[in-house]
Symmetry: C2
Subunit: 389 residues, 2 copies
Amino acid sequence: MRVLILGGDGYLGWPTALRFSARGHEVTVVDNFVRRRWVDGVGSDSLTPIGGLAERIDAWREVSGNEIRCFVGSVEDGEFLDGVVAETQPEVVIHYGQQASAPYSMASREKAVETQHGNVIGNLNLLFAIRDHVPECHLVKLGTMGEYGQPEIDIEEGYIEIEHKGRRDTLPFPKLPASLYHCSKVHDSTNIHFACRTWGLRATDLNQGVVYGIETDETADDERLITRFDYDEIFGTVLNRFCVQAVIGHPLTVYGTGGQTRGFLNIRDTLQCVELAALNPAEAGEFRVFNQFTEQFSVLELAQLVKHAGEHLGYSVEIQHYDNPRVEKEEHYYNAIHTKLLDLGLEPTLLGEELVESMIHAIERHKDRAIETAIDPHTRWNPGEPVQL
Amino acid sequence: MRVLILGGDGYLGWPTALRFSARGHEVTVVDNFVRRRWVDGVGSDSLTPIGGLAERIDAWREVSGNEIRCFVGSVEDGEFLDGVVAETQPEVVIHYGQQASAPYSMASREKAVETQHGNVIGNLNLLFAIRDHVPECHLVKLGTMGEYGQPEIDIEEGYIEIEHKGRRDTLPFPKLPASLYHCSKVHDSTNIHFACRTWGLRATDLNQGVVYGIETDETADDERLITRFDYDEIFGTVLNRFCVQAVIGHPLTVYGTGGQTRGFLNIRDTLQCVELAALNPAEAGEFRVFNQFTEQFSVLELAQLVKHAGEHLGYSVEIQHYDNPRVEKEEHYYNAIHTKLLDLGLEPTLLGEELVESMIHAIERHKDRAIETAIDPHTRWNPGEPVQL
């Protein structure tokens, strides 16, 4: 299969490229390395010492004998993206090429605009490129569970059947996005759904939970193939952050009570899910939505798990409750359906103390690279008075 | 009241500025005249011979003795908009400053990107400017009924109570926008709702139906105060188009069967609604949605009404069914609730033959300016094969 991966230099994009390449697919990656610049700009760096994309592609060729093709450029540049799609004629496009940090999007007007412009216009350019050059191509788009927010009802996978005043329809599930980044993902979903209805494109929106983990089968093959790993307040996801904090002796940064409940999944399962989606494409005209996570946890449960695992390994781990920099419910109903990927064959990698211990061991090898000043939460959702929810 | 009107040079923005000024409010308008350039760019022009904004403001001063303040610039320029908001300290911002044509947004990738960038980023800039300078200010945002599309259930005003698996919540009404322009308005609604939830802003989203009409009380005062009037396939709304077509002897351009049903309102009622919203602001943190139209009609009903009125005035009027350039249902359920503005005191101007005749009379004065080549539909929603709905 001809696979085009946008954002192929990233935390998930790079391991995804290796996975598809390892399976014998013809892989092309696109990146403009802006994620590296963003992380640098907030005073942080990947914990893992990743090489340049060209070096990593060379290492992969050496290890596997497989070629990954690479284009350097931005999805915001419509003509560039058009050219890449026309030249590579992908059968599936996997779109990770977006600004994916909620705090980054909330840090300033400029960063909010950068996030929404980059994400929405990049994705819109892609929809036109697919329509004009490869209308049968399957778009696999990374969405997020954060698009739904915390409604008082169960969260379904993309759609909900509504009975209203004696009539009935199945409509897009209402969204209450949790940041301007999450808003941008809702915008993307709206645009992709429109493109499927109007142009007959086929797309799968993977509303992904919070990803954790540091290794996949392919990145573990060779030190040079490792993927980036962020742990700062802006780009680090919560469990990854906690594990680094445990190793370097920083208190675990729980925001508020820690009662916030979300769906989580292992990076290995991200690859499984994306592969399952790609191998089982949506129909022409279909906008398919999968909720992509394996387990629900509260933030405090994760902190306790990391504390326990860390202490088991001899670390002294403290949990500290910080004033919540976000505007969000800390105690709330949360039940999100996530059966569609299981139906396609997903075999979840479940989270437990052993898995956290293995993450801690992987982190230990690079702990001297950790920049402790980048850890505490400084980016507030609301710079004014606290808002009552 | 200090009133800031974005898009104050436009079809609705200009009469709105006059209305608030006539009522003694302190009015500032912002525009960058891009609508004039867009219309020129598609080979058309306002049927009415409007003067420059400065000339019109001068004429209004002469007629009314009232001053309208004006800033020339783009809402996409965050620093410019920030400066205007900081300087004028508005109590209400009325945001018309957007690309408002569905066909324009569907004409090419470039125009789609221009539409979504301008609308989404301009509105996002505005949210930050309000948050940072006038957090108590009431945002009155023009949305569109086209955000909802044609669901099989009744369309409520912004929200719907959903009972699901024994639980219940009131959530944003699901949207099925009808073009990439309409998508941009959904994006705006999502962003504004987020800003209200997160920053405690107060906003009213006026999901407006299709506007028709050529005059308001104030624009009728003096020839120099007339507002623009578009009738081309891109920027003309359907009833305005039909009236011009009747006068110049062009067949009425019904797309497909004409069974498409929508909500409509007179331009005079737009002004009433905006004024009612401004005088009755949303609460802090509230994102209020009004469906702003007065009557539902099918396109064919409107064509028949114009044919009848035109023939009564001695015109020979033919109705012609064109291949539908849009991807839309032509026969569908449609029932949209619109009681909230009535509850605030809206007194609808109802559409009838007499009103159409008065529009035809107003159009007759400028009929020599009509550019007939701009009328037939050329902008297709889907340049490829027809999509089965």
